[in-house]
Every structure is written in structure tokens, then in C-alpha cells.
Symmetry: C2
Subunit: 436 residues, 2 copies
Amino acid sequence: MIKKLEKHISEQLSFLQGKKLLIACSGGLDSVVLSYLLRQLKFEIGLAHCNFSLRGKESDQDEEFVVELADSYSVAVYTETFDTKKFAKEHKLSTQMAARQLRYHWFEEIRQDFTYDYIVTGHHADDDLETFLINLSRGTGLKGLTGIQEINELVVRPILPFTRAEILNFAKEKNLYWREDSSNKKADYLRNVLRLNVLPPFKEAAPGVIASLQKTQKHLKDSYSLIEDYLSLVYTLVVQEIPEGYTINIDKLKELPNTNALLYEITSPFGFTDFKAVSELLESQSGKQVFSETHRLLKDRNVLILTEISEKKEEKEFYIKKNQIKITKPFQMELKSIDKIGNITSSTIYVDNDKIDYPLVVRKWQEGDVFFPFGMKGKKKLSKFFKDEKLSLVRKEKIWVLTSNNQIVWVVGYRPDDRFKVDDKTKNILKVTRTT
Amino acid sequence: MIKKLEKHISEQLSFLQGKKLLIACSGGLDSVVLSYLLRQLKFEIGLAHCNFSLRGKESDQDEEFVVELADSYSVAVYTETFDTKKFAKEHKLSTQMAARQLRYHWFEEIRQDFTYDYIVTGHHADDDLETFLINLSRGTGLKGLTGIQEINELVVRPILPFTRAEILNFAKEKNLYWREDSSNKKADYLRNVLRLNVLPPFKEAAPGVIASLQKTQKHLKDSYSLIEDYLSLVYTLVVQEIPEGYTINIDKLKELPNTNALLYEITSPFGFTDFKAVSELLESQSGKQVFSETHRLLKDRNVLILTEISEKKEEKEFYIKKNQIKITKPFQMELKSIDKIGNITSSTIYVDNDKIDYPLVVRKWQEGDVFFPFGMKGKKKLSKFFKDEKLSLVRKEKIWVLTSNNQIVWVVGYRPDDRFKVDDKTKNILKVTRTT
């Protein structure tokens, strides 16, 4: 398995080579094997363990186990205890979703604070099959069947192509120790039922199912990207931006096959769910309109006009004073003076604190906004930038900018501005992180 | 369940109303309930039962049971005995595939001979979930996950939206009798393993899975038709017909996103599987070529030329003499003088035997071919007809025509010609059926 993983990394995940990896380590079979393998492959690693306090003494023993494992490997270890039930209750989440949110948020913190390049997890092919069936059982679309992402921004899953059986055999062969999570043996979550009762007879009767799933998901991913391409082509043909929102050209839409399905694809991301009412607009009189929770679709001769239902004006700008360390609206963002810059990511940037003027303002982007994309010479219209990034209408509409004196400092989540970047002369670095 | 089915038929399958239905009746729960329901809804029905001789005495008892059921309903019954194992061996098919071929071929014969409008089967939602998982376990693509078709030409599955549990409850409530197929209890076929061991715990843990599957498959079907639309758009942009085959415009293809994926979609139906070699043609020198079993792809400056690897010329025309009752090459086709016409389908047409000249010739269609589409005034180029029918390149290439004096009598599988149709003055009707 070591050779196979080495080959897989060099062929498919070569960007990992020479990088510092933070391993999400529960102490269970999968993460223990992952830790062992990455150490054998001479990666610089650290182990991060979350104690969710869900199984009393057993949880604490898991933590001890991971600490000892890290010691035996002489690598760094990070642990944190969470009151998962309380967090779940406060945020109205299931225990599993709460644990997931806490986990990835904390991993990202550790990654940044200790300058790891990537977070790696021990997800494997059987997890993928389980996820596929769970999504199916809840009702999903093409995207929901394409599987667990092997690379999702800075989270990488190097043993995703391997099966649980392979991993187990390897662990036994190498006499590895790991912790069994007693809750995995209780058939109370759907995932556990699948693992314990559903998949064993399925895999026995159809031994190739895991390989087949991988092949199938490869096809589904290709199909999904073809649809994305098609829709972005359709957008350029029928949708036009206007100051108040967008217009959809009815005549051009009708020239395309499956007009109603396309109209649905265009409008459903804005919350329109009454497919019939939306379709009827195509044939109705001017002035007729349909509402979603957030948007309005108005028939006006040969176009449908799509506009946001207006929010209160005063909510549209959010101010950040000097030395303010966080905002909670319109999203959570933290500001911190630091000494040394780390990696710029979609959620974190570093700016020269002396180049900016307070108060900073967070607002939605506007037609006409211009910025100097980080790492490029010269300026660019935001509308052009979004077009090049192939952003959908909905994603565009959700984009906020951080501004100083009405100059863009950061297209939040996308690209910092070159004018405010940290350079040789910078004395005060401000780290800005969007945390929700 | 009666009311629910009545509603479903009136909303989704209204074309069935007043029609004569041939029920594929094994004697098992599903087809017995289907027969009961359709009779209650006052359809004119007949029962067709295949005895596959696979379970000895039990098979014969099933047949008796269906005959008695039909008698008790005072409706027509048709039975036929097949030597499935022999047929399977001769045609190198699995027993299940052999039974399937024999069944549908025979149902279609009965349907035509006794002028039923549609064949109806008792497939239900649980069958759909099983099929989904079977396809998944073998590796499939988007199309393979979109489910059992409710309407497939003249075969209709009216109780596809109903679950096995609903059907079973209904049968018990109405005190219906049915035959249990003992082979369904043996976990030897994958389908039986799924039904007996895999799906019960899955459905128990995720009670909504069947409804979710239906919702999911609806989305997948929509996605699939978007891809079809996109590809047909891509074809019009980059593919051009030439006498020897097709050209693919490389420059135009490169203007589209995911060029390689698109090239794969265009070429894979012609048997090209070496994705890498095909992609490399885009950048290679003129003259470089790649072969599939049936086709050649040749780089020529800014186009790829796609041509069929030439067959021997003499194999390209097949003659039918007067009173000949069948041909076996290039496909099986039967010719029969009959008294009364039935429904024209994709595999059967009726022509006025006095309007045609022998020998009839079966050949591939050619650029320049023209015909008079049945039911339309005037003539049409075949190339235009295929374009309107949105046929893919591959399907077009496989199309045969039946000709009389080099006039097209039938675009086989698609449309008969108006000039040779049966009318008031016809004395001799010839029924022509493609059987493979």
C-alpha cells in the first residue's frame, strides 16, 4: 500500500510533495494508517485531534492515544475539547453536523497558526459509497452523486481511492494499533447502518462495486462539468446584467431546446421553486410577476427581469473601526495584527495596515467597481473579473467587497487588491479572515 | 391504490385511456395486482404469459394459474413455452437476458397479431431502486442511473411509481392470490441478494429512500437532457458532414471549454477508447491518425476527419426477391402478406405490395437520398430529416433504407415512405418487420 500511495501522490497529488501536512487524526483505523503512511513517505506531519466529549471516558482515551502516537513518531500534536452538544443546540445543528463544523474550523485555525500547507483526512472509497447512498436516500441531483472531493481547497484526502479492506489488511500486516469507536458499532446513524448491515451483503454479491462506483463517479463528474459549460453558454446567450439585476431574453431562450428546464436552471438558484408559475411567465402578459423569498421575476414584454427584493438601505454598509478585531455582520470576519504573513487563501488575506484608511467598509460589489487584482499589473473591472472566473449569477450576487476610502481592498473570498499588499516596507501587517 | 392509479393514469399516462392493453403476466404479485387494477379501471385487457421452462413443474403451475386468472376475468390469455437455456446457449446470453429477449419479442408479436395498443408490465419503484444499484455495481454513467423508463415506445409501466409495500398491502386487502416464484427466494442473482438482504435494512434505516430515488432520477433525467442539448449544439458548431464521413473543426472545438471531454463525447460513440491518443491528435502533425475497431480519425491541418473503415463494397447492398419471407443480413427482417394492417411502429411497416418493384434493396442511406415522409406532403432530404430528428452522428451512420427501384420505401426504424403506403385501393398488403 505504501508504494501504491506513493505512486498515487506522485501522479495525481504531486502538489503535496515537500509540503507540511496537518493530519486530522481521530485515532481510528483510517487516520492511524494515513499517519503511518505519510510518515513512511517522509512528509513533515502533525496530528490534530478533536475531542468532542461525546463518549465520556472513551473520548479522553482516544485523545491520549493520539498524543502517544504523535510522541512515538516525534511529531507535533494538537488537541482541543469541544462541547459538541451545546454547540449543536445553540446553532440548531445535528450532533454530526456540529462536530463537522467545529472540526474543520479548528483544523483550519491550527493549519494557519502553525503554517501547515494542507489538512489531510483519512476518507476512503467505502466512505464514498456510503456518502453516495446517504445522498441518494435523501434525494439529490447529479452533483450530490459525484462523490467526496479528493481535493477541496486546502483539504486533501490522499487515501480516497483505497478501500477499507485494503486499509485494514495493511494495518494488520504492519501490526498497527488503533482505537475502535464504540459508536461506530451502534446501528443508530444511517451511516453506521449502511456500514454494518447494508454494504457487507452488497459488496459480497457485487465484489467490484467500489471500483465501479469510482468509474461511475468519474463519468458523473464529466457530465456535471459539461452541464456547467452548457449553462454558462446559455447565460451568455440569454442573460444580461442590468443595474438592478438581470434580464432574461425570452425569445432567445425559446430558441433553445428544453426552454422550461433551462429557465428552471437559471432561476432556481435564486430560490424560485414553483416551476409551473415561472414557466407560465413566458406566455403571460407584461406586468405579471413571481416571487421567491429573496427575488422577484417580472415579465416585461420579451424579457423577464430578475431583481433582488430590496433590503433596507442602512443594512447595506458595514463599518470597521481602527483596532476593531471582529465583525459579525454581514458575516463573521476577524482582524488581527501579526508579525509574519502566511498563505493567502480564499478566506484569509494580509494587508499593509498603514496603507488603509479607517473606517473600512464592507459592502456588496456594484456595477462599475474596479480593482487591481493581486499579483497582476493594472486594474480590472469587477464585472470582467467575475466573467473570467466564470461565476454564476447567484454567486456574483452574493459577493462582498472590503473597501478603504471606497477603494477595494479585498473581493472577499476571491482576490485581494494589489495596492494594499504587504511588501518589503510594510511595518504593520493586518491579517483579515472571514470565518463564516 | 385504485384511485391513486386512476389519477396517475389520467394525469401522466392519459394516452392509455380507452386503449387495449396486453398485460405481461407472470402470475406473481406485481402482475396480478396490475391485472386486477386495470380490470377495475375498465380497460380492455388480455394476459400474456411466458413459460420459460426454468423451474419444471412450478413453471407449468404458474401458467395454469394465469390461464385460470384470465378465465375468472373473462379476458383473453396467451401463453407460450420457451426453451430458454437453449436459446441462451445459442445466442451466448445469460439466462436472464435470454428470457428478457424472448419475452419482449413474443409480447410484441402478440400485440401486433391481436391488435393490442400497448404492452403493460408490473414494474414498480422497488424494481427501479434495484436496477439503480445493479447498474451502479457494474459501473455506469448518468444515463444508467436515470432509471427504468415508464414509457418505452409501446411498453408502458403504469405502477412504476408504486412501492412493493403498497402493492403487497393492496393485494392482501383485496384477498388476491398470486404465485410466489421460488427462484426469487434464492439469493443467487444480484437482484435477489439486493431484494432479500441489502434493501430491507436500507429501507428500514432510510424510510424515504424510494421517494428520494424518484426525485433524484427526475433531476438526473433533466441533467441528461441538458447534456444531450449541449452536445447537439456542439455538433452543429464543430462537426460537418462530408461524403466520406465527418470533419471536426479543431479551432472551433478549442474555443469551447473542456475541449478534451467534448472530443471524447464526439468520438467515443465511434468506438474510440484511447482517450489520450485522441486528445494528442489535436496537437499533432497532419497525417497522424488513430483507429477504433470501426473508424479512423485523421488529423488534417485544422480538422480531424472521421471516416468508417471501409467494408467490402459487395456487402453493402442486400437484395430481397419477390415472395422471399425473410432476410438475415444486414439484420433480420420478416416479410409477410397479410389481410389487415396494424399499428406502424419503429420496427414494423405496411406497404402496398403492388406499388413496389422487386428485388427490393436494403442499403445504407447516402448523401443526397430523398424520401416522402409518411403522413407528410412532399419530399424531404434524408440529411434534413435526420437533423430534425436530432439524430447523433453514430445513429445516423447506422441507418439502413429499404428501397424499390432506388426509391426509399422505408427509413428502417424511423419512417415509412408515403408513396408506398396502404390506401383504399390496396389489394395486397405486405407487412415488413425488422426483428433484430
